[in-house]
């Protein structure tokens, strides 16, 4: 992965929070800021792609976020939380058919 330097100005309160977190984890302010920024961007990319209707694997391919990380982001953000009755009913019918088969 190629890296590019980005300079940002943040409010004092944000810098203080970053310093607090950095101290807890024994890393630098820049490292924790980078971690938060990348995590947030990944989350936005994944949720946007998912909301457009792409499959989990397709979202992973498009955003270059690991498949299992996509799953974790979907769980954490609740993007998949809306129940789709037609799909649920279809799966329930399959369950009923499978129950009868021995």
């Amino acid at each position: 992965m190629k890296n590019v330097l980005v300079n940002v100005t943040v409010p004092v309160e944000v810098a203080e929070y970053l310093d607090e977190k950095a101290e807890e984890l024994y890393i630098t302010r820049a490292t924790i800021a980078r971690k938060f920024l990348i995590e947030h961007i990944e989350e936005v990319k994944v949720t946007e792609a998912r909301e457009k209707g792409f499959s989990i694997r397709k979202v992973a391919d498009m955003t270059r976020v690991r498949y299992d990380k996509v799953l974790e982001i979907l769980r954490r953000t609740g993007v998949d939380a809306k129940e789709e009755k037609e799909l649920e009913d279809y799966m329930d019918k399959t369950v009923e058919k499978l129950k009868k088969r021995k």
């Binding site: 209707g53 792409f54 499959s55 989990i56 694997r57 397709k58 391919d61 690991r66 498949y67 299992d68 799953l71 979907l74 769980r75 998949d80 939380a81 129940e83 789709e84 037609e86 799909l87 649920e88 279809y90 799966m91 329930d92 399959t94 369950v95 058919k97 499978l98 129950k99 088969r101 021995k102």
Partner: protein
Amino acid sequence: MQIYITNTTVVVYLIDVCEEDILNHLNTIEPVIEEVRHLRKKQVEIRTIKMQKSDLIEHRVLRYLSDTDIALLRTAKSNDAVLITDDKKLIEAAKVNNVRVIDTPRLITVFAFNGVLDYEKALEILNDLSNVYNRKYAVEKAVRNLKEWR
């Protein structure tokens, strides 16, 4: 005997809740095994099924799937198998193609109904799954169904 073909989501969830034994009852295609090997840095014991090229119904949903998703769908259709996936888009595509499909929580309940898993074990797995699953309502529904059946 019923053939179950599983997507990566199912394998990852079962590994994460330490229930890999269930994979003995499932099949999958090579790209899924490669994906899991890459994600979990381990070789999982699961039967490989040869990818098939059954025709799929032309529908806009296919545009939202990856090549591996489509390979899974084709293979399930060719084998008259049940596709196991937790991806709503793949579930939708299965429905469009009249491929039987269930998700991981429903798989656990079916295995309980059919005696592959005992009731207590199935409940335990569903409770563990609720901590990691991407659609919590689906796990809650599966728990309710299992308790009603009991």
